[in-house]
Each structure stands twice: as C-alpha cells, then as structure tokens.
Symmetry: C2
Subunit: 287 residues, 2 copies
Amino acid sequence: MTFPGLLATSSGLVKARLDQALIGMDDEPVIHAMRYAVQGGKCLRGFFVLESAALHGIAPANAVAAAAAIEAMHAYSLVHDDLPCMDDDDLRRGLPTVHRKWDEAVAVLAGDALQSLAFELLTDAALGPHRLALIAGMAQAAGARGMVLGQALDIAAETAASPLTLAQITRLQAGKTGALFEWSVTAGAVLAGADTAPLGRYAAAIGLAFQIADDILDVTGDATKAGKRLGKDAEAGKATFVSLLGLEGAKARATALIDEATTALAPYGARAENLTAAARFVIARDS
Amino acid sequence: MTFPGLLATSSGLVKARLDQALIGMDDEPVIHAMRYAVQGGKCLRGFFVLESAALHGIAPANAVAAAAAIEAMHAYSLVHDDLPCMDDDDLRRGLPTVHRKWDEAVAVLAGDALQSLAFELLTDAALGPHRLALIAGMAQAAGARGMVLGQALDIAAETAASPLTLAQITRLQAGKTGALFEWSVTAGAVLAGADTAPLGRYAAAIGLAFQIADDILDVTGDATKAGKRLGKDAEAGKATFVSLLGLEGAKARATALIDEATTALAPYGARAENLTAAARFVIARDS
C-alpha cells in the first residue's frame, strides 16, 4: 500500500473511535466544535500509534483508543493555538478556525474538553495493562515540560528583542512538536512493555525533521494545499530553521535527519518499512 | 479540631504536593502563572479527597496526589473561566486574575498545563491499584459531559432569550460544580475499591448546596472576604437559585440539602464527623 493509503486507513479507524467517544453528548455548540476540530488533518500521530503497535504485535483494536487520544490532544492544541491571543489564525485544515466559526469561549472550552477526552480515551480497557504508563507519558508530554512549554517559548519569541538561536529553536520545537511526536511513535512499545529506545531515536529525528519541513512549507508552500495561512513567520520576523540555515541548508538538515531516523529503525528490519515510508513522507508532504 | 483548622491542615499537605510537582520547571511566565493559580483558595475539594480516604483507612501520603490533582484541575477551570471571552474577571482569591497579571496567552497555556498536571498527579504510584478508575472518573467529570458542559451552558445562559428554569440551572450546576465535587468526595472510596454510593449521595447534596450558597454570597456577601467580584449575576440579569427561589427560599433549600447530605453519611457513623462539619461549612462560609 502507498503511504497516503496507509495514512487514510489509520485515519478511518481513528476517526471512527473519536466519533464513538463523542456519541450521545449534548446538542451544544461546544460539542459540535469538538467534532469539527477532530475532523480533517493528516492523522499522522494516530498512524504512528497504530504502526508502532503493529510493530509489537498489537492489533489495531487494542491500540486505536490511544491513536484517538493523541489526535484529540493534537486537535485541542491547534484550537487553542489558533486563538486571537495566541497565533490568531482564521483558517485551519482548509476551514474556519473554531473561534471564527463559533466564538472564543467555545474554542477555549472545546479545547479544554478535547484534552479531557484524550485522557479518558487512554483509560480504555482495550489498551491493556500498560496504559497507566501511556497516561503518565502523555500528561508529561502535553504539559509544562512539553508542549505547553514549547508553545510558551514560541509566543515569547514573537516579542523577544533578538531572534532565537538554532539551539533555542531546537529546544522550543522539542517541546512544541517533539514531545507528543515521541509519545505517538513509542506508544506501541509502551503498550507492549517493550524497549522504547530505538523508536525514541526515530521519533526525535523525525520530530525535528517535521518542524524543519513546516518551516520550509511556510516559505515555499501553497496555502490552499496546506489549508492554513503561510508566510507568517517571515512576516513576523521570527527566526526559523529556514532563516537560520537558509532554504538549501534546511532541506539538507531535514534529509540528514530522515537518514538518522531510518537508521534508528534497523533493529526492526523489514517490519519497519511503513515507518521508513512515514519518515520520507514527513519531509515530502505539501500540507 | 475546628473545621477551618482541618481545612488548613489538608491545604498544607496539598500545597506541598503541588509545590513538589512544579519544582524544577523552567523559569518561564507560564510556570510562574501555574504556581500563582494554585495558591490561595479554600482547598475544599482537596480536603474531601483526604477525608474520604481517611474514612476508608487510607493515609494522607497515599491520597495527597489525588487531592493535589483536583486542586490543579479546579485552578485550571478558574483561570480559564476568568478569561475575557468567558466571565471576564479581574480578581480571584483577592489577587489579580492570571490574564490580568500576565496576559491572555499565558492564562490559556497555564490553564492547559494545569489540566495536564492534574492527570499526571493521578498516575502517582502512591495512589495504589485503583488509580485508573480515578483518572477515568476525573476525565469524565472535567470534560464535555461534566464541567465543560456546565460552563458552556452557563455562558449560553448569558445570551439566552429567557432566564433559565430551576431544572435548567440545577443541570448546569451538576456539570459546572457537581461533577468534580462528586469526584473529590468519592475519591477515597474509589482508591479503596469500596462502595461509592453513600458518599455519592452526600456529594450530590452538598454540591448543589455549595452552588446555592454561592448564589446567596453573590447577593449578600462581602467582596473583600470573597476575594472576587460579587453581584455580577444580578447585574447580568441571570437566573440564579436566589432569583428563582427568593433569598429565604434559597437558604431553606440549602439547609434542607445539608440535612440530606448528613443523612447520607449515616453508614459511616461517628467516623464521618469531619464530613458533617464540612457540610455545615459549605453553606456558612463567607468566601
């Protein structure tokens, strides 16, 4: 199967599990906004959960709640990140952002409830005996040592006296994107009680490559395909991997990271071919 | 010990556990805001966790992480509830609200990270073998079937064509305050793997009494003692238990609920005297 085909298959499973979790809720704007926010998107993080589970012999039915959890968590982060007091974006995944379609209060609350939903999904008994480790890992990756710290550093960078250095941007991205990426990629090993180290190395490399690719897309991409506003970092005078390394330097760094990622998969042999394809996709995508 | 004395003791334990959880985090505004947001307050929910644990023979050391978790969750809800797009409040617990002391972005992110922290605290191994049930219960109570739904209904009420009915307000409060109240009060029974039904009945009664007392305070209270703006419901023309039942009617209903709550404690006999004192405190407090 082609990689987009694999992604579509896992996305279908994840969306069905999210639909199931959101069934029977009240007919209120905040609930509609939650359903809206989890639609669309590549579902890359959910794919990583299902694929790393498969790599450890865990069937989709025993991993899909974790894949749905990470997509709920990711959706919450986008809804809050798009708020006027944060990145102030009108468009996400080709549609109006939640606070534009409803209002800011609905966006704050829908994001809050999506975070709760992520943790609720992780308590699903189908995930088996290691789910507490997944919960602890997600709480750490999402919180003030992980994603929220990265977001805070990102916002602080907008008003900083001087642009960030490469070390500072790398640290920012390790929190903002990297922590939940690593959670997704290692989830299958955690569920199996197996060694997470090789997948952790793969995750660190593709997490950074993903962000470099985002910075490249922000400069060279097509806003229609990306489904969001582009060029905003340059507009804001923010340092990015492209501004610091140059376009060619950034592309070369991303390619080197993908090599690093695929090398980290060596212990799994041919069984890791889908993760190898995912690594290539991360820097070749147009959205 | 007097009830305020009991409350101060449990508050001290809970604050120490929260301090421990927040140690070693980065020196960023969002982290300072998290520490700021968990300071002050009555710590009533944390008290309920420790007291219901004690009722089931569980030592404070094996329950305090859950008490800290509910206080982190409560603090997040206050930070977001105070935002300009929500209740737009400048004062909380006698101090400037987080978005007034820092800014809206810091308030959104600090609230988000406090929610993550609540779940992280619930994975503490000291809580023993039933902590997954606590996590699932908190996720449900905090999310779109619980607190967030209540908040959403509350905000919708502000622009509703007609004031809410008593049934509608009762439903709203069951979500907004009741769900996490019930979680706190039943936490000890959950940790012990014991029957939660008697404490559940107690919690439902005092949760509602607490909210009626809040509505009474909003009309008759002293803003300096309460540490927040009062009179805002009447100002906004919102239906409250006081506007619907009258001041005397509301007081009578709260008193009847406290009788109901103490009756529910009968199975525990004299061991529940602190919870009986807590029920009386809930309607006698001035903040």
